[in-house]
Structures are given as structure tokens and as C-alpha cells.
């Protein structure tokens, strides 16, 4: 039998169901892998008891001849942005150190109800603000990938960098991620895995530590398209506890998978040919176009004229919403409190927030506070929301001509830790291809397409119409089948 940690979600589910191995054996194999991978710093909390308990339920149900749940026997990683009852949840911020939620997020609860078990809570950029996992208060996550003959630690992407690193290193077959401007897709691309951000409103935000509420959306990360479809089916669904949750049935995405793209039109947005794009990214994009054509799709060039304004609009809207959302960290109701001698209430707020928030979080709160302050609101925030309308209209116009869009996921392969952290804007530019679809609330996924000259993974992004996760998954499957991506990081940890 092959190594159990090499198996994906579908293989584990089917193997447990068929009695090829026990859920306990699977859980133990991943628990050992997690325990042996400390140098990656992917996990903030390890919860082997949770994974074993879920495995026992699966094994007992099988022994009793009962029907198994959709994710019975599948242990997963949980991004530490999801509140998990009784398990410390910090969003990788010092201000939430010691916070033990008294309730369960809807998405994590849905996964446990589907039979999954939790291996632990995954590191991330602090409050999901970052593109390299360097803003965590609990240390950088290190990508399992390295450049040849070079031990320099590489970024696993961000903000879901613990999730991406853990899956690529075979510490878990799948994990949750959240995506505000690319935080599922860019890390997936950096480590050669698959991740999908569904349509805004598919997955409940209840119990997800809020960053930018009009953009935040949960989604799965896994090693292939089928595993993402299985996970997303379990995570998604209407939730009355989230006012923006979509009251729609969850489609059977796995059963609907079909890589035959005949009759489908794939749009290539010309504005995504940005200046200084590495030739390898350009070549991969062209390769993706050829794969789409090979799968039967018709290729059409489309225009999304406001693309270049998406990033600056995002860096007004997201910090503005963050400055409002993060006002709750006041040292009164939860989290850390810093009370200098003789300080009053206002001084306590300010000292608590100064000590608890990291530099990037403070930077974004300050930008958000500035653009929302009296006299500036219309010039910045209202203008950004108008531009957001124009960006959404660009996509609506494109859907007249095509069914999905194909673009690169990120403008480069993984960079080294520290390479971009001194220049916030250089870091923000990493999200140039992922932010527009976030602003428009569209489903979008990254699938591995190939490797660069250093052997590092590169991803292709598929963007779909609202609610058409199936179209996105199917196009992703067509790429996956043709890319035949099997590269993996050599184990050094």
C-alpha cells in the first residue's frame, strides 16, 4: 500500500468506505506527519484528539454497517481564522492570544457534521492581511519548496500560507482557506496545489474572524479539483446567522465534474498582460489557452477595461472595512488587555491595540481610518465603491462573450521570505490578478499549470460567472488533466 499521507480526500474517503484501511490509520499517519514538520511552522495548534475522535466515529460506523458521511475518515487542517469551539483561535495576532471561542464557525461545523476531523489550526498572515505569511505574530510559515541548491526559505503565499504549505508537504489532504483579495488562490499557486474561492455568499462568514466583510469568503484548498469540489460541497450552504449568506441549495459539484469543454467559450482578458510579466508566466498562460482549446473550448479575447484600478480600489475598500471590523479589539470583551499604570479607558484601548496588532495590521487600520475620516470619505471610499461597480460591469459585459475567464494566478512564482516585506506596495501587487474577481464576488480558482526555471510551481486562474462554481471546476479539471502536474517538494524538514 502506498503512503497514506500521499492520498487525497476522495482516495481517503473511498478507501475508508471500502475497508482498504481504517480511518484511524489515516489519522495517525497525518498526525505523525504534522508532528514531524515543525520547521514549516504551518500549524499554530495541533489537535490530534479531534482527528482521532472523528476517525473513531467513521470506523465505528463502518463496523456497524452504517452509511458513512461524505467526509468520514478525512482529517483536515483548519485555517486559524475560523472559530473552533474550545480550541484557541488567534487569527495569528497577538491581540487574540489565549482566545478560546465558545462557539463554532458555521463552515467548520459543517465540515465536522460531514465527518471530517481536525488535525490542527493553521498559521496565516495576521488577520489574513498579507501575501507571504510574514505578518503572523507566531512566525513565518516556510514553504516546503526550495530553489535548486539553495536553502533560502520561500514564501508559501498568503494569507492562507499555513494551509498551502501543509497540503503541499502532505501534512493534510485538504484545508480550509479564506480569500479576501486572493488569499486562497495565490498561496495555492505558490505551492502547486488547487484552491477555489466560491461566489460571495456561498460559505457562511459566521464565526470567521472578519477582515473585510464585503470581500471575505471561505473556500477549500486541496491537491486536486475533485477534492476541492468534495470539500466545497461540505463547507457551503445557507446560514441564517450570516446576513449575506445565499439562500440557495448546494449543487452536487463533484458529481457534476466534466472536463469536456465543447460548446464553452473561454475568455482571455487582454488587460491581464501586465508590464514586466515574466516570460514563463506568459508561456504558461499560452499553454493554458492551448489546453482549453484541446478540451473543446472556443477561445475569445475579451476586455476588462478597469482592471488596472482594481488594486487601488481594493486597498481603499479592504482597509476601510478592516478599520471598522477591528474596532472590536478593545481589551474589554476578549483577547489581550494592556493597562498601563494609572491609565484610563481611552489609554487602555490605545495601549492594548498598539501592543496587540502587528505592523501591517496597524498600517491597514490607519489607511482605513484615514480614507473614512471626515472630509475624505467621498474622495476615497465612495469613489472606490463606484470603481468597484465599474469593475463588476466589466465582468458582466465579458459574460456576454464567454463562460469562464483564464488568466495567470500570480505575476511570479514564490519569492523568498523577506524579499518583498520592506515595500508594502510591491507586496500588494502580488494580488493583481486575483483582486478584480474578489471585488466582483465571482467564483475563481487556481490550478497548478507547470513549473518555472527553478522548478517552482506556477498556477492558472479560472474566473466564473456568479454561482457557476461548476463551470470553474470543470475548466480547472480540463487544465489539471492536461497539465499532469506531479512535481512535489523534496522533503527537507
Amino acid at each position: 500500500m502506498s503512503n497514506l499521507t500521499d492520498l487525497g480526500v476522495a482516495a481517503i474517503r473511498d478507501g475508508v468506505r471500502g475497508g482498504e484501511f481504517s480511518a484511524r490509520d489515516v489519522a495517525d499517519a497525518f498526525i505523525d506527519a504534522v508532528a514531524a514538520a515543525k520547521p514549516l511552522n504551518a500549524f499554530l495548534v495541533e489537535t490530534p484528539y479531534h482527528a482521532r475522535a472523528a476517525a473513531k466515529v467513521a470506523d465505528d460506523a463502518r463496523a456497524a454497517g452504517e452509511a458513512l458521511k461524505p467526509l468520514a475518515g478525512v482529517p483536515i487542517g483548519m485555517k486559524d481564522l475560523f472559530c473552533t469551539q474550545g480550541v484557541e483561535t488567534t487569527a495569528a495576532s497577538g491581540i487574540l492570544k489565549g482566545f478560546v471561542p465558545q462557539y463554532e464557525s458555521t463552515v467548520s461545523g459543517n465540515l465536522w457534521n460531514a465527518g471530517a476531523g481536525m488535525l490542527g489550526k493553521l498559521n496565516l498572515d495576521q488577520f489574513a492581511m498579507g501575501s507571504s505569511n510574514e505578518t503572523s505574530a507566531f512566525g513565518n510559515v516556510v514553504s516546503p519548496w526550495r530553489r535548486p541548491n539553495d536553502t533560502a526559505p520561500l514564501a508559501p503565499g498568503g494569507s492562507s500560507g499555513g494551509s498551502s504549505a501543509a497540503i503541499a508537504a502532505r501534512l493534510c489532504p485538504a484545508a480550509t482557506g479564506t480569500d479576501t483579495g486572493g488569499s486562497i488562490r495565490q498561496p495555492a499557486a505558490f505551492v502547486g496545489i488547487t484552491g477555489i474561492k466560491p461566489t460571495y455568499g456561498r460559505c457562511s462568514r459566521y464565526g470567521v474572524v472578519a477582515f473585510a466583510s464585503s470581500l471575505d469568503q471561505a473556500g477549500p484548498m486541496a491537491r486536486d479539483v475533485r477534492d476541492c469540489a468534495i470539500m466545497l460541497e461540505a463547507m457551503a450552504g445557507f446560514d441564517p446567522k450570516d446576513a449575506t449568506s445565499l439562500d440557495l441549495p448546494v449543487p452536487a459539484w463533484e458529481a457534476g465534474l466534466n472536463a469536456d469543454l465543447r460548446g464553452k467559450r473561454v475568455g482571455i482578458p487582454k488587460e491581464y498582460r501586465v508590464d514586466n510579466m515574466p516570460s514563463e508566466i506568459e508561456a504558461l498562460w499560452q499553454q493554458g489557452i492551448d489546453w482549453m482549446r484541446d478540451a473543446g473550448a472556443e477561445i475569445v479575447e475579451v476586455s476588462l477595461p478597469h482592471t488596472r484600478y482594481a488594486l487601488p480600489a481594493y486597498y481603499i475598500i479592504a482597509p476601510a472595512e478592516a478599520s471598522s471590523n477591528l474596532a472590536r479589539y478593545d481589551g474589554v470583551r476578549f483577547g489581550q488587555r494592556v493597562l498601563p499604570d494609572g491609565a484610563g479607558l481611552q489609554d487602555m484601548y490605545a495601549a492594548t491595540r498598539a501592543a496587540g496588532f502587528g505592523d501591517e495590521v496597524k498600517r491597514r487600520i490607519m489607511i482605513g481610518t484615514y480614507v473614512l475620516s471626515a472630509g475624505f470619505y467621498d474622495a476615497y471610499y465612495t469613489q472606490a465603491q463606484k470603481v468597484r461597480t465599474l469593475i463588476a460591469r466589466d465582468f458582466e459585459a465579458a459574460w456576454e462573450q464567454c463562460d469562464v475567464l483564464l488568466t495567470p494566478t500570480a505575476p511570479s512564482a514564490a519569492f523568498a521570505l523577506g524579499e518583498k516585506s520592506a515595500d508594502p506596495i510591491a507586496m500588494y501587487l502580488n494580488d493583481v490578478f486575483t483582486v478584480p474577481s474578489s471585488l466582483a464576488g465571482l467564483p475563481a480558482m487556481s490550478v497548478p499549470g507547470g513549473v518555472d526555471k527553478d522548478g517552482l510551481p506556477l498556477g492558472l486562474q479560472i474566473i466564473g460567472k456568479p454561482l457557476d462554481e461548476q463551470g470553474v471546476l470543470n475548466a480547472g479539471l480540463a487544465i489539471e488533466q492536461r497539465a499532469g502536474f506531479v512535481a512535489r517538494a523534496d522533503k527537507w524538514w
Partner: protein
């Protein structure tokens, strides 16, 4: 765009983040660069364009006006840095 350290201190005050003079000096050019970069949005013609309010069309739901939650005082207080007699406590605010 140029941002003065005094402006940084004013914004930090609004955001309730304590900040030293040295930190304000350091943050001023950083925030200036970011604000300068996002100012390019001003060149977009948005005359007659409505600002986005909902990214995916959705309807506001109403529910029956009944109590559906509550009676969980101790759980609400469980993570408070300081609580007494079933209340959150803060430094004295009235002399």
C-alpha cells in the same frame, strides 16, 4: 503624496492606537506612498455611477420577532480579560 507625522498621530488617535513620535515619523512616508498610489482612482470617470452596495444580488430577510438566543452570560464573559459579578470591567471612567 506627503503625509505629515502630525497627521499620522491624528489618525492613530482616531484608530485608538498608541503611537510614539518615532513611529509616526517612520509611518508618515509609508502611508504617504500608499495613499499616493491609491489616488490614481481619481482619474476614473465615475459620473452617474452608483457606488456598489451588494456584490451579489440578495434580499434582506426578516424573521419573526422572537427571542432565539441568550442566557449564555458566562460564555459571553469567558474570554474577558477582566470580569466581575457577571459584568465586563474597565478602568474607572467617572471621577
Amino acid at each position: 503624496m506627503s503625509v505629515e507625522p502630525a497627521t499620522v498621530k491624528r489618525v492613530a488617535g482616531l484608530a485608538r492606537i498608541a503611537i510614539t513620535d518615532a513611529e509616526a515619523e517612520k509611518l508618515a512616508p509609508e502611508l504617504g506612498n500608499i495613499l499616493g498610489w491609491i489616488e490614481q482612482l481619481g482619474e476614473v470617470d465615475t459620473q452617474g455611477v452608483e457606488p456598489m452596495t451588494a456584490v451579489i444580488p440578495n434580499h434582506l430577510r426578516l424573521r419573526d420577532d422572537v427571542v432565539t438566543d441568550g442566557d449564555v452570560r458566562d460564555r459571553v464573559l469567558a474570554n474577558a480579560p477582566q470580569g466581575e459579578h457577571g459584568f465586563f470591567t474597565v478602568p474607572k471612567v467617572i471621577e
